[in-house]
Symmetry: C2
């Protein structure tokens, strides 16, 4: 069950408080930001989640409850206590997540006052409202749904994420929930989540800024009534998890703050995967590459310059660069004006891919999902708190 | 002597070609980009400079002659040959530098055709024209001049730099010349240059993008007729060099592409200087910090988040943040609305300083010069080649 209400945390009449509820409990795992500055809800949920099961997740937007010290921890606990009272469940069974402005005190009264209505709103159809309640500068809610089969039992899996700014997840994205009715123990769920995140949410960057509030929480209710899956039966479920997270990753990149283009940077032929990843992130985070994409300008010199400063092993004279299927650079030299004109057309599309072949190693590659920097990005972030 | 002409490399009637000439030769040293992708003029000047002396430096804007392969090297050599012929000096005595668009072939004919006029324009008053000829997206020329004394002999030192975009120098800035009449051998000149660059030009970042064309060239003509200075007499000259480079560094940061505010990020109390430098650069390059500065928004949560993801050693609950003399964060917690209002006023000034005291180590600190991200930055870089 899920539900959401407008509690007035930052704006009036905007959904900003959500609740996920598994009446009979769920096995749970999570991944949290590796930012050294961790928000109060991250600190609390990291502790709570070690139990391996949970029944409720409270989430709010409009306030990150980060850099708020001990009073921030106490504030989150008061909100958990309100959930505990209203649902008549133990404090230990409740997780919390927050997103929004850093450093402002959490408005406890607004949240606790809204609790009866929030619990009253809980329903199997409440996930759409919840996906809206976690939005900040997002322009659309991000969900992904799949059905699958394990041991001939059908299961379903739902992912919900938010994105937009302060996005270069490091273990997770800003906030993401994965909800499934499959029966799986929390340690196997954790392994699958961790593996799936590496090439999906952890390969997204909007602005290179890792949030203080990143968290991904996966809940498995067991309502699919399959015999708990073991390591050898995990294939179908793992594949479903990867598809959900890949879909959400692309949605987060597409909805980057002010973005007009979502693009994939794929580096292949690197000496090792670490080099490929580092080069792909250096290119994806380069303000000069991001602004060139904004102007549909096939300014490949900026890609070469970003590669060159990344510090990875390669020879400039080996590098090939393609945009979708059009060659732009061959052996480190530009293909000329005609190809650039074709590439510029590709770059006018809402989505495209830049492939960089270093021709140094063999099978080593990494793919990063990102977006351009626009004037709207500046507006959104220069005026965010006002 | 120096001079400049409009040779029509990219725009008509805009100074774009400059020449520095020491008729009786000069001791020379230089520092060049550590970007793995090096422009043809960088590759050539790195070779030439090992001789320790030079007579002429040819520099152009509007074309970086980078990622142009062997034809780019040949093109630069043809331009050097034209200088050699016109000045009747050896090819070995000529250095070259270029700045502008990456990947386009150097228009050799335009440059060689302009050579007689360029040489004819050489004069002791030509440095102002030269400082304009190396501008790309710069909005003002950057020069700095000082007079000093060594062993009771007067000397002078002139610095000329360009900046604006693709600026996070790694050994130098995009292009910088230091010209002095002091008598000093090139190896001592090199030591002084290298030490002085670390806390000046190498501590500037506009956008985190290290250029393919960075170079700093120092020429010492010996015309001051002091006995060549030795290591124990270098103090006055070293201090003059540092002042010149500091002044140019601030000018480069102030004139960052689209910048409306120049700000200094100073991290102190770090465990070591490396940590302090890494943290200062992480904050200075954060798009969220740069856009908050653009909006004069004292959004200190973004500074804390950048610190947290930088990976350095510190405790969030120890951090103090000041903007100029106003405290914004004390022991990891915000000072509140009144202080934020005062800080916002400070942030409306064209220049201010953010000081982060980690209170972890003792005397370890680093200072980085940078600027905000504005809508103009996006305009300049989305439309740069069109």
């Amino acid at each position: 069950l899920a539900g959401a209400v407008a509690s007035g945390i930052k704006y009036k009449d905007r959904l900003d408080l959500g609740l996920i509820y598994a009446p009979d409990g769920a096995n749970v795992t999570g991944l949290f930001t590796r930012n050294k500055v961790k928000a109060a809800p991250v600190i609390l949920s990291m502790q709570q989640i070690t139990r391996g099961s949970a029944r409720a997740v409270l989430v709010n937007s409009g306030n990150a409850n980060a850099c708020t010290g001990l009073p921030g921890i106490e504030a989150a606990k008061e909100c958990m206590a309100a959930v505990s009272k209203e649902l008549n469940i133990s404090m230990e069974e409740i997780l919390v997540a927050s997103t929004g402005v850093i450093g402002a005190p959490l408005p406890i009264e607004k949240i606790t006052a809204a609790m009866p209505k929030l619990v009253n709103n809980l329903s199997p159809d409440g996930f759409s409202a919840l996906s809206k309640a976690i939005m900040t500068t997002d322009t659309f809610p991000k969900t992904s749904f799949l059905k699958g089969k394990v041991n001939n039992k059908p299961f379903s899996i739902l992912g919900i994420a938010k994105g937009s700014g302060m996005i270069q997840p490091d273990l997770a994205t800003m906030i993401c929930f994965v909800l499934t009715d499959i029966s799986i123990d929390s340690s196997l769920l954790h392994d699958i989540l961790k593996t799936s995140v590496a090439h999906t949410l952890n390969s997204v960057t909007i602005d290179g800024d890792t949030s203080t509030n990143d968290c991904i929480i996966a809940l498995a209710s067991g309502k699919a009534q399959n015999p708990p899956i073991n390591n050898s039966e995990k294939r179908n479920f793992k594949s479903a998890m990867e598809k959900i997270l890949l879909d959400l990753s692309k949605q987060v990149a597409r909805d980057g703050e002010g973005a007009s283009h979502m693009f994939t940077v794929e580096v292949k032929g690197a000496m090792n995967n670490k080099d490929a990843k580092h080069a792909a992130f250096t290119i994806a985070n380069s303000p000069l590459v991001k602004t060139a994409v904004n102007g549909s300008d096939p300014n490949w010199g900026r890609i070469m310059a970003a590669l060159g400063r990344s510090g990875i092993s390669f020879k400039p004279e080996d590098v090939d660069i393609n945009v979708d299927d059009i060659p732009l650079v061959k052996n480190g030299i530009g293909m000329g004006k005609d190809y650039e004109a074709e590439v510029s057309m590709k770059m006018k599309k809402p989505e495209f891919k830049i492939t960089i072949n270093l021709k140094t190693g063999k099978k080593c590659f990494w793919r990063v999902f990102t977006c351009d920097f626009s004037k709207e990005y500046i507006s959104i972030n220069a005026d965010y708190r006002s």
